[in-house]
Every structure is written in C-alpha cells, then in structure tokens.
C-alpha cells in the first residue's frame, strides 16, 4: 500500500513541474510586442494615423474656436447654448480651464502617438522599401501636421517622438518644434507620391504636394518667405492642382478629392465617429429646419460687410434664412426668444443675423448627411495666396499679382464686372490686400485668427473683441495638464 501511495503522489509532483505556466499571452488582443510586424500591419498602422483628423476634437477641441476668436465669426447656435464655455472664445474671457483646449491638445498628441507608432516600428519590418518609405512619409507628414497646430496654438510644447514616451516631460521651445516639423515634412516630400499617382481608393492619403503646401505654410509662419515661396511654387509648378471652377465646390461635395484639394479629411454620412462620420460640419450645421446641426460659428456682420460687391464668395460662405440650397429651403431655428432672425442694438444697428457656415454644407436635409462633409485642411487657393504673399515679401510683386488674381478670377464666377484684377505693386498695400483676400477666400476655415497673429495685426483687429497682445497670441495649456505634470509644464504668459 505504501508503495502505491508514494507512486500516486510522485505522479502528482511530476505533473506540477511544467514550465511557462505563468505566461498568459493576451487573447484576441494585439499588443505593442505583436504589432506592427508585417507589411500589412504597417499599412493598418499608417492608415490609423488619419483617423485622428476625423476626430471631432481634432477641430480645435470640437468647436471652431479659431474662427470664433477671429473677426469672422460669433459663437453661434442660440444665445445661451454653450455661452459660458464656447462664448468665452468670442470675447477672450477663456482661462486655463477653457473648454476644449484639453480635448484639442490631447487629440493632437494622440495623432502624434499614432504617427510615432509607424515612425518607430515600421523601419524594423522587412518589407518593400519604397512602400515602407511611403508609409513613413505619410506618418511624418501627419506628425508635422499635428505639431504645427500645437506650436501655433501653444508655442513650445513637449516634444514626443516615441510611441510610448516617458511620463515626465517638460516643454521644448518652439524653434525645436518647428525644426521637427520641417524635417518631418521634408522627409514626407521626398518619399511620398504625387496625388495623381494615388490609386482612387488611396485618395486622401498624404502626398508630396501636401507636404510642400504645408511646408510653405510652416515657413510663412516663421516669416521665412524664401522657403515659403519655394515650396508654394513647387506645388503650383507641379501641375497637380488647379482651382475648382466654382467656389462652392472648393469645400463642397463636388470637390471632394478634387483638383483643388491638397489634403482633406474623408468622412461618411454616418452619425458616428466609429462608423466613419465627421462631426466638424454637424457642429456648424443649420439649426432648426432643416436640422443639420448645432449652428456654431456664425458668420459675423463684419465679415459679411467686408466682401466686395458681387463677390460670389459671400454666398459661398454664408447661408441666410430663406435660402434654398440643393433644393432644401433654409428656415433656420424658429425660436425668436433665443435666436431672433435679426438682432438690433439700442442704436438700431444690426448686431446679429441668424445665419450659418455655407462651407460645411453637404446636400441633404437631415443630420447624418451632414456628417459626410470632407473638411479641407489645405486647398490650392490657399497655396496661391501663400505664394502671392511670399513673392510680395520677396519683392516679386508682379508674380505675386498673377497668383492673387487667379484666386479673384474664380471668385468672380464669370462676371467680369466685379472683383477687378489687383494691380497694386506697393509692398505694404499689397500685403494688406493679400491678407484681405485670404479673409474672403478662407473665411471660416480656421485660418483668419492665425493670419492676424502671424502678421501682427491681431492687436488692432481683435483688440476691440478683447484680444490682449502678448497674451492671446497663444492659448493657455489646460490646467488639468499642468496639474498632472506637477510643475514640469509651465503656463503661457499672463494666464
């Protein structure tokens, strides 16, 4: 019997000696160690970076605060909707807990992380070299795009170049960030294909032209007009792009991935981010009837008045109540208490007109269709105006006028009696003229505020709205981020 007992327990002891028992691999879940490891993984990871720009928060935290801070737009929606939060950007009363600043910052860094996954991991994958370089180029283009928003909005920010960075980081200076952006975009320019070489299912991916256009803008913001001219002209001379014949198509559905589009955000008409929808246009869509959205970013009276007579871009920028667009009658929000059609001040001046952003319009009369809007991040008209601006600064007024007038020509809509060609050759006057042209061409596209800041005109133009020079050129880093960093992140001046 004893032998049998000993045998029995010996068997048990032998059985328990198995190895690796404590290694439980993740089930049905890829982790850092197992992704990306192949050519197809590299594609999945690269494609993922683009998902960041369709995120609602990518658009300055959701609400179009850049336009609301500019002289182009008011908060919008009805009087009280988000008055305390979004309204604060209308009159520069926002502070370090400003609504959306945390969302915007977080989403830009999320995009950077996703780009870093590609930049860090794809070089180790054994795959076709050209394809690998293209993926790296796409990721570096996107990283440059995200950092460009960060550096413009906050200045020197933490420089993150690893997919899993350390917890504790301080702020880099803005020069370091700009040099990272330039090296990313230059790499992208070298390794990306031309737009015309993209197969139709790849339209929307970053191209060499997009990298050049963005480089032109990055240099413009650094007042490096030589390089700005160089890259803007590269785009123009590539013959890859042209203006849409009709202004409304520059941002509209007919121009999706069209000739004028240099880089845009693809979206589907699904009321859900995970289903492919984009909420950018829904945030600004017509309120009431038809019910297309929330109606934020209301075009200002000042913007309305600034257009030259007959400029087709006025109706291409503003939807007024009573308009009929794509067969849809715009009745608007019929709530006179909260959102009258016209608001007058004591003097009888019109200070508010219920109207909406035409540039985000998509055909349809319901909400989901509004989610299909493709936001243009860079379009050819912008490049032409950047070229004009840089050429003017570099003393080449004649060339500058060529590109400026190309933009005006399209704005005429075939009516030769309006918007005459600009012939100014005085550098200062032409500079102002180009800036004004940018306002009319790019209104409500998130450019105006930064144009005013980089040209030093923000204090004059936005001062009456509450802009404080030396403070409001940059946004505050959200308090929660400062708190969590426990002192390693310093706040921007005067906040």
């Amino acid at each position: 019997m004893k032998t049998r007992i000993i045998l029995f327990f010996s068997v048990i002891i032998l059985l328990t000696g198995c190895t690796d028992f404590l290694k439980t691999d993740p089930q049905g879940q890829l982790i850092e160690a197992s992704f990306p490891v192949s050519s197809s993984d590299a594609l999945l990871a690269t494609t993922a970076v683009y998902a960041a720009v369709r995120n609602w928060y990518y658009n300055s935290g959701g609400y179009p605060i850049l336009d609301i801070m500019s002289d182009d737009a008011y908060k919008g929606s009805n009087k009280n909707d988000q008055l305390a939060t979004v309204g604060a950007y209308d009159n520069f009363t926002f502070n370090t807990t400003g609504d959306g600043l945390d969302r915007w910052w977080a989403t830009l860094y999320q995009g950077i992380k996703w780009a870093n996954v590609v930049i860090e991991k794809v070089p180790d994958i054994s795959m076709d070299t050209t394809l690998r370089n293209r993926y790296l180029g796409e990721a570096r283009f996107m990283r440059g795009l995200f950092y460009f928003d960060l550096v413009r909005a906050w200045g020197g920010v933490p420089k993150v170049t690893a997919s899993i960075p350390p917890l504790h980081l301080g702020r880099a200076n803005s020069k370091e960030i700009y040099s990272l952006i330039v090296s990313d975009l230059q790499y992208a320019e070298t390794h990306l294909t031309k737009k015309s070489e993209l197969i139709s299912s790849d339209k929307g991916r970053a191209t060499a032209g997009a990298a050049e256009a963005l480089l032109a803008k990055v240099y413009l913001f650094q007042k490096d007009f030589v390089n700005a001219e160089k890259y803007a002209l590269k785009v123009i001379q590539s013959n890859e792009y042209s203006l849409e014949p009709w202004f409304i198509d520059a941002n509209g559905v007919n121009g999706n991935n069209g000739v004028e589009s240099i880089f845009e955000v693809g979206a589907l008409g699904v009321e859900d981010y995970n289903g492919g929808g984009a909420q950018y246009a829904n945030t600004q869509g017509v309120r009431g009837s038809p019910n297309r959205g929330w109606g934020f970013n209301r075009p200002s009276i000042d913007l309305r008045k600034s257009f030259e007579p007959g400029d087709t871009r006025l109706k291409g920028t503003i939807i007024d109540l009573g308009d009929t667009i794509d067969g849809v009658f715009i009745k608007g929000d019929p709530d006179p208490a909260n959102d009258p059609v016209i608001t007058l001040n004591q003097n009888g001046d019109t200070i508010n007109i219920q109207c909406y952003n035409r540039k985000v319009w998509t055909p349809g009369n319901d909400t989901p269709t509004q989610w299909a809007h493709h936001r243009r991040l860079i379009r050819y008209a912008d490049v032409l105006l950047m070229a004009a601006e840089a050429l003017n600064e570099n003393g080449k007024q004649t060339d500058a006028l060529t590109y400026l007038n190309q933009v005006r020509k399209r704005a005429r809509g075939g009516n030769i009696l309006i918007l005459p060609d600009v012939t100014i050759t005085d550098k200062n006057l032409l500079r102002d003229k180009i800036l004004l042209e940018r306002r009319h061409e790019l209104a409500l596209e998130g450019e105006r505020f930064w144009d005013l800041v980089r040209t030093g005109k923000a204090a004059t133009v936005l001062g009456p709205l509450g802009f404080v020079p030396g403070k409001h050129e940059l946004l505050p880093i959200h308090q929660s981020e400062i708190d969590i960093s426990q002192g390693s992140l310093t706040q921007n001046p005067d906040y």
Binding site: F8, Q29, A267
Partner: protein, 994 residues
C-alpha cells in the same frame, strides 16, 4: 457536609505521616475510550508524566498531593491523591465553545489554539434570511463584516466588506468553498452550508497570500456525520412574500402642477390635473418559494450528503425573477484505514429575467401624465419614457449553469504525516437573450425593427492543491505544520451578436438564423455588433507555495507563523512573485495557575498578529500596451478602411499591492462561559494599490486616459467586539449578543509623482460630473461638491456675496470655501463619507419548550448617501416632496431653493448628501417544534414550523427606498442612482427531519 468535615479532620490528623507512593490509573473519555498522551502532573511540582496508548499512567505522589490531569480539548481535572494508589479518571470534553474546531485555511484548529481573528457562523444563522445568497446571513452577525445589498433585483449579489475598504480595486473578500477559491458563492444553497468562517486578520488570511488582503470567507458544506449510522432525510420548504418597504415621497399630479405654475404658469386648474402614482404601478408584492430535500449518513466506509434544492424568486418589479436548482453531492470514501477520497460537488442551473431600470423612470416620470391612452395603448411620458411600456417591451434573460466541485485524496503516513491533494473546478456557462419587439410609444420611446441579442460566455477555472501536513503532540508540546504547492488557471470566452427584424416575434423564433433576419429595405440579412473575446479579469494563472506552523505549549502559549509565495501571470516576469508572511502569538491566560483566584473568569485569551497579504484583482492586460481598432475614411468614392494602432500604454512595472495588518485581540468567558466576549483592534495599511490614474495627455493616450500604477495607500483602523450572554431561566433558554465595529478609513497617498494625477474621481453622474474624489486625507470615495449656506433672498444679498454669474434670488448660496471672492470649481469640498463609522448588530434568541424566537437588529452609522437620482435634471421630472417648501420670494425659505427644472441648484452640493445611518429590524423568526413524543409516533425525528420577517422596519432619515445602496466599485459607493429597492420579506416555512 459532615462527611466533608470528617474528611478534612482526617487529613489534618494524618498530615505528618505522608509517604511517597506510586499512583497508577487509567484515563478514559466519556465513552470509555482510552485517552493517550494526557498530561498527569503533581501539582506545584515539576513531576509529571503522560498517559500511554492504553490510557494508563503511573506516577509517584504523596497522599496529600493533588494530581492535575490535562489534555488538549479536555477539561482539566485536579484530583487529590489521598490514600489511593489507583486513580481512574474520566476526562470530559471541555466546554463546547473552547473545544470548537475552527476551519482555517488548509486545515483546522481548536478554537482555543487560534491566534487569528476568525468568526464562525453556523447554518442556523445562514438560513434565517430568505435569500439566494448565503452571504446575506452574515449581515449584522459578524463584527467587522458589512454586507450590503446593492440591489433588490432577484439574482443580485450583495457586496461584502471586511474591516473597511482596503483598496481602490475590487475590495470583496474571496470565498473558499471546501478548499476551492472562488469570487462568489451564488451557486450555493444556504441549506447545504454547515458553517462559514470569516478570516479577518493577517494571521488567518496570509496563508491565502495574494488573494487574502480583503479577507477570506471559508465555507464548509454539509457532510454525513461519522457515527450517524442510519440515513437522515431532511425537507425544508418556505414560502415568502416580498413587499416594498416604503414609497418615496414624490409629488402628486396636483402638487406637481402647482410647482410648475410657480416656474411658468401652465395649468389653469390644478385640480383637474391627472394624478398617476408611478411607484404603485411599477411595484407590487411578489413571492419567493424554496424547497430542499437532503439525505445524509455514514457507514464505516463512507460518509455521504446529497441534496436537491429549488429556489424561485419573483421580483417586486414585473419581468424580474430568478429560478435556481441546486444539486449537492458530498461523499467521502475510506479506501483503507489510512486513505480517504472525497468529492464535493455542486451543480447549479439557473434562469434569470432582468427588468429594465423602471425604478429610476418611475421616480422621474411626471405624475400629471397618464400611463395609457384612451385606446388602451401606452401613453407618451415626456423626457423619461413610459415605465410600463419599458417593462412591457422588455424580454431580457440569462440562463446557465455553474458547476463547482473538487476531488480530494488524503493519506496518513507514519502516523503524524498527512499528504493531501485536491483538484477543483469552477465551470460556468451563461447565455443572455434579449428581445425587443418593434414598437412605437413616442418619438423618444420606440424601436423601429425588432431586435434580438444573444450573448454566450463560459469560464473555467481549476485549482490543484497539494499539501503535506504534520501534527504531533509530544508532552506539553503540540506542533502542527502544513506545507503546500498549488497551481491554478482561469480562462473564459464570450461571444455576442445582434440581429434585427427577426421573421417572427414569438420566443420560439429567438434564434439568430441568418435567413430569418429579414431586412426588406436593404435586401440584405446581416448580423451585427459581433463581439468575441475573453474576460480580462478571468484570464490568468497562478503558482503558490505555502507554509504554516502552529506551535502550542501546554495549551497555554501559542505561536503561529505562515508564509505564502505567489506567482501570477497578471504581472510581468520581473514582478511576478510576491511573498506574504505573518506571525502571531496567543496566550490562554485562564489556564495559568494564578487565574484560579478568579473563578469568575472561565476563559481569557489574548492574541496578537502581524502579517502581509496581497491583492491581484486587476485585469491581466494592464501590464501590456494594447492596440485599438479604428476606421479611416479614404478614397474616391470615400469608403471605410480598417486601421489599427496603439491604445493606452500599459505598465509593465506593475506589482502586487500589499496589505500589512496588525491585530490585537482579547477573548473572554465569564461565569462558566455564560458571558463570552471577543474584542479586536486592527490596523490595515494597504500600499502600492493598483490604481488607474490620469496621465498627461501629451502621452497620446487620449484625453483623460488612465494608466495603472502601484500608486496609492489606504489605512483602515478600528475596533470590533462581540458580547454574548447565554443562560436559562427555568425552561426558557435565551441568548443575547451585541456586536459592533468601528472603521476609520483614510487615503494616505494617491499618485504622488509628476505625470500621475493625485485625485481619483468617481461617482460620475450621467452628465459626466463626478461626485466623489478620493484624495489624501479623505476616505475612499469621499463625496465632493459645493457647500451651501441658505438661499439668496434678494438681489442685494446676491450682489453682496460671491455667487455664480447665472445665480438669481431664490438660488442656493454656494459657500466660497477658498475665500477668493468667486464661486468656481475650486470651492468644491469634502461633503461626507460613504463608509460607515460604526456598524452594530444586536441579536436575541430564546426558546421555551418547543418554541424558539430570534430577533436580529442591525445598524450602520456615520455614513452619507448621495441622492444622485434627484440631481440629473435636464428636463422637467417629478420632484421629491420637499420642493413644496420652495422659496417663492424673500423670507419664504432659507433652505429650499426656488423650484427649477435644472440649473445651478442642481450642481453637486450638500443638498443632495443625506444621512445614510440606519437601524433596522433585520429579522424576527418564531418557530415551533412539535414535541418528539408526538413526532416519534409517526417516525419523524423533528418537525418545526416557523414564521419570519426580514427587513421588517428601517429607521433612517434617507428619503430613498432603502439606505442600503452599495455601489459598482469603492470609489462610486453609496450613490443612489435609482436602484431596485430591497424589499421586506415575510415567510412561512417548515422543516422536517426523518
């Protein structure tokens, strides 16, 4: 008496002539079985010996000596030698309390030899409460144990806390059922349980190492009793009615209209407004029935216990019920004299129906709206949805089976050694079916296409434990050692899928047959929302080494040392192993000679322990940086492209959280143990708590993303005690016990270094606002919000004080806590703790002839409840009655603000923090056992009838249904979001043994 005097006289006379002599004798127990190893000592000398195998002893003593006979578990006897040379002694078992064998981890110990804090509950107490969950029987019965019903819904599992909240994670104790480690015991029928032993201090729990930090509840199920001989059959049957304890004071239709008119004149004649009492429509009394039949017995070669139980509970809300069958099979086979093999097996099929949360919608539904239209259809209930329609269209079921069991073999070798091996399995299968027909009540409450969702999940865990134990009494020394090696593995998988527009709506067609999923508009049949994976909490393996030594000297001095080393797959290979030691000592003071001067004290023991335990209740994925799936829209025409990238970064440096607990205890028995008491002081310090905290957004994990760290500390300290008086007055036997505990819970650390948040937010309202903040210096899950100080009476008062920019007269005055002249988020402050400061239990039992009566009272004190169901108000809902006292102009009220549908007065503030203390008549049972003179005639050994009531009456200032709220986790605790109320239960039962 005379004889005694004579005896003493003779002793005195004979005094000088004592002679040494050999005294011999035989020691037997009350059944005349020889007692070996008993100590025989000559009093006040060092002379002593032990009885032999046959119970015999021989010792040299003089006639005036007194012999002291002592033996573990037996009452010590002192017998004067006198002139005898032969003294035969019958040793009797010591009083029952002390001799009680207590089940501890990996063994048993005599209660008197215990150094740890362990409480025992017997089956009688467990079956007092009519519940699916045996752990309900612990409520108010064990000092330091708090049982809270988080919901009254049939099938809901209560939450248990032992000695406060020791972690931010899952703070529930583990259960060990006949040796199998489990997270819950809802598969067990209370009737099948012999006892529950609650291990509270580290000396008792450290043997469970990484899983013992929140306490251990050892459950022993019934077995046949050796020597029982013939089979015993038992039938228990019970029928109960559940009744809503109280209704919430909400406004009637007329009152509602009156208040609305204050805000905006709306109703011309408030007397014509309909009055719907939604609570009356939603709640109604419901029944519970349970039956159990068991057979048990033993022969020389086997012990057996088999039972079959049935439990069915209908909820007090329609479409909520639970039905369960319990099979229990416990057998032991004695293969040889030295080898036994046992099995403990439970198989529990169940079926559950879940109602939608109509408690909350009935609370909010406007009383001026009627439930039905003229045509009999459901009427629209604005903003909330018609609760009755919610119920009518809900078909939500779970069914499944759980099987738990183990096979156990034990061999005794070389007399003192025992080798044991046990292999246990816990396997569960659950299928969820939810069908919603197509319907239309209102634009807000509709379902366009009928929807069928099916979800399956199964889990299997096995545990293999091998121990070698050694137990030997040698002279006055007793040593008990156990060492072991265990392995376990848990895995699971779930699968769920949804189909819409099923061709027929009857239950016979609630199957996802692709061809029956009919979509006429798109012409395609699709299944969607497919998900498949493992449960991150149920996918791990562990290896453990364990050791315990218990040494007792002369039944007076006790030392215990335990050690466990655990390795878990939840941690990366560098941090995989954790070591958990403990040490304890006990001194049975009452066995010292000097205690003879205090005959009143029949038992006195002091004990102390120190030890470490751990907690590993985190998901297995936390160490990894995982990926996420995204959609990117590309192409012309645009289409969705799949994409994958990294999600939140993991933390490969995670390690065990560890709890260090110190315990000092005192056990006392007075007047022949008529009065017994047990008191403990404990100090539990949990460090390196695994906690998910916000990290900087520049990490790219997304806004507010959290990573797990070992980054918090929590301390729980308190006293607990229990006093019991047991006696008989004439034919009336009675017992009274009172028990209580205090808890002081403090967060000592959260986060703490750059890049990690130092506040943990919890209790998120549906508006996304958190109402709890766990931060240094406060209890876990502390309520956090604005303090109020009256109501603004006028514009002048408003302007003279800090106020919100949108505040108007009639609004609450929020206190400017930081005195910066403005009211903002920085003025939010600590508003109270969800954790009670004190818990109390008071139990009375009495019996007279065939009657037995027991009364249990239970209470918790010093905790707060956040009334969250009142606070989220974007739209007009019904109000609680206090709104009738609302401010309507200067001087009208300085406590109740003006009536509003929402806005400033609904910010999280002390207005919504209520006193959560309560005293409850937990249980009253009256039983009658038929005299055996009658029952014996019909071959019945016992027949008892009883009536009882549970949760009969609760004294509380809380305005909700019941002050027992619970919570989804410790940082969102005691927040009433409108939970399914716990009802009063009245029962009639019968217990028959034959």
């Amino acid at each position: 008496m005379k004889k005694l005097v004579l005896f003493f006289i003779s002793q005195v006379i004979l005094l000088p002539v004592f002679s040494q002599q050999s005294v011999k004798g035989k020691i037997t127990d009350d059944k005349n079985v020889p007692v070996a190893g008993a100590s025989v000592q000559v009093k006040n000398t060092l002379r002593g010996t032990f009885s032999e195998i046959d119970g015999g002893f021989i010792i040299v003593a003089s006639s005036n000596d007194t012999l002291v006979f002592s033996m573990l578990g037996m009452a010590t006897q002192k017998i004067p030698v006198s002139d005898r040379t032969t003294i035969n002694v019958k040793m009797l078992e010591e009083s029952k309390e002390l001799n009680e064998v207590v089940v501890i981890g990996y063994g048993t110990v005599k209660k008197s030899d215990l150094t740890g804090s362990v409480a025992s509950i017997k089956s009688v107490d467990l079956t007092k409460i009519t519940s699916l969950n045996p752990e309900q029987g612990l409520q108010g019965k064990v000092a330091g144990v708090q049982v809270t019903s988080s919901s009254g819904a049939p099938g809901a599992i209560p939450s248990i806390l032992i000695r406060g909240v020791g972690t931010f994670n899952n703070s529930a104790p583990i259960f060990v059922v006949d040796g199998i480690i489990l997270d819950n015991i809802s598969f067990l029928n209370s009737q099948d349980i012999e006892s529950m032993n609650i291990l509270k201090d580290a000396s008792a729990t450290a043997i469970y190492g990484s899983r013992g930090a929140n306490g251990v509840i050892l459950v022993t199920t019934k077995t046949g009793q050796k020597g029982q001989g013939k089979a015993t059959f038992n039938y228990s049957g019970e029928y109960s009615r559940q009744i809503l304890q109280k209704k919430i004071d909400l406004l009637s239709g007329r009152d509602y209209a009156t208040v609305v008119n204050e805000i905006t004149p709306t109703y011309n004649n408030v007397d014509l407004v309909p009055n719907t009492n939604w609570q009356s429509l939603v709640f109604h009394p419901a029944s519970i029935q349970s039956h159990q039949l068991s057979a048990s017995g033993a022969t020389d070669l086997t012990q057996y216990y088999v039972s079959l139980g049935y439990f069915k509970q209908d909820g007090i809300v329609d479409k909520s019920n639970y039905e369960r069958v319990t099979f229990k099979l416990n057998n032991t086979y004695f293969l040889t004299k030295n080898i036994k093999v046992s099995n403990f097996l439970s198989i529990t099929p169940y079926k559950q129906q879940n109602a939608p949360n109509v408690t909350y919608s009935a609370y909010r539904a406007r009383p001026d709206l009627v439930p039905y239209n003229q045509d009999g259809g459901f009427a629209e209930v604005l903003n909330v949805g018609n609760p009755l329609a919610d119920l009518a269209y809900s078909n939500d079921y779970n069914k499944g089976v759980r099987g738990v069991g183990n096979i156990f073999a034990e061999a005794t070798i070389l007399k003192s050694f025992k080798v044991k091996t046990s292999y246990g399995i816990d396997a569960g299968y659950n299928q969820a079916t939810s069908f919603t027909p197509a319907y239309f009540v209102s634009p807000q409450q509709q379902n366009l296409l009928n929807t069928l969702n099916k979800g399956n999940s199964h889990s299997i865990a096995w545990l293999w434990e091998n121990t070698l134990s050694f137990s030997k009494q040698s002279g006055l020394h007793f040593l008990d050692v156990v060492a072991g090696y265990t392995m376990q593995k848990t895995s699971s998988e779930n699968f769920s899928v949804t189909g819409k527009n099923i061709i027929r709506t009857s239950p016979d067609f609630w199957y996802l047959n692709q061809s029956y999923i009919y979509d006429p508009t798109n012409g395609v049949n699709t299944l969607n929302s497919i998900s498949n994976g493992v449960d991150a909490n149920l996918n791990f393996s562990m290896v453990s080494y364990l050791f315990r030594a218990n040494y007792t000297y002369n039944s007076k001095y006790i030392l215990t040392a335990t050690f466990r080393r655990d390795g878990s797959s939840k941690f990366s290979s560098t941090n995989r192993y954790g070591n958990f030691p403990s040490f304890a000592a006990g001194w049975v003071v009452s066995r010292e000679h000097f205690m003879e001067k205090f005959p009143l004290i029949s038992n006195l023991k002091v004990r102390g322990s120190w030890g470490m335990t751990g907690n590993d209740k985190i998901g297995y994925l936390s160490q990894y940086s995982i990926t996420q799936n995204l959609v990117t829209v590309l192409g012309n025409p645009a289409s969705a492209n799949s994409a994958i990238t990294y999600s939140v970064s993991g933390n490969p440096n995670l390690k065990w959280e560890s709890t260090t607990q110190t315990d000092a205890g005192l056990e006392i028995g007075l007047i022949k143990n008529k009065l017994t008491g047990e008191f403990d002081y404990y100090n539990r310090l949990t460090k390196d708590i695994l906690i998910a905290l916000s990290t900087p957004d520049y990490l790219g994990n997304g806004q507010g993303a959290q990573e797990s760290f070992n980054a918090a500390s929590v301390k729980n300290t308190g006293f607990e005690g229990k006093l019991t008086w047991k006696d008989k007055i004439g034919q009336v036997g009675y017992s009274v016990s009172i028990l209580g505990s205090s808890i002081r819970n403090r967060v000592l650390k959260v986060g703490g270094s750059s890049g990690i948040d130092s506040i943990l937010y919890g209790g998120f309202l549906s508006s996304g606002i958190p109402v709890t903040q766990s931060r240094v210096g406060l209890p876990i899950g502390a309520f956090y919000g604005y303090k109020t100080n009256g109501v603004f009476q006028s514009t002048d008062e408003l302007n003279a004080n800090p106020h919100l920019s949108t505040a108007v007269p009639g609004d609450l005055r929020l206190v400017d806590v930081n005195n910066d002249g403005k009211i903002d988020g920085n003025d939010r402050t600590y508003l109270g703790s969800p954790i009670p400061k004190y818990t109390l239990g008071f139990n009375i039992g009495a019996d007279y002839k065939g009657f037995d009566l027991s009364i249990d009272i239970q209470g918790v004190y010093g905790n707060k409840i956040f009334n969250a169901k009142e606070i989220v108000r974007p739209d007009p809902y019904n109000w609680e009655k206090h709104v009738l006292g609302a401010w309507t102009g200067p001087g009208t009220s300085n406590s109740e603000p003006r009536a509003t549908y929402g806005g400033n007065n609904y910010l999280p503030s002390d207005k919504f923090v209520q006193d959560g203390s309560f005293t409850r008549l937990r249980n009253v049972t009256l039983g009658f056992t038929l005299p055996s003179s009658i029952t014996n005639k019909i071959a019945i050994s016992q027949l008892r009838f009883y009536v009882k009531g549970s949760n009969i009456y609760t004294i509380s200032r809380f305005t909700g249904y019941t002050p027992e709220i619970g919570g989804s986790n410790v940082i969102s605790n005691n927040i009433d979001f409108g939970t399914y109320p716990v009802s009063s239960v009245y029962s009639f039962g019968i217990n028959l043994t034959f």
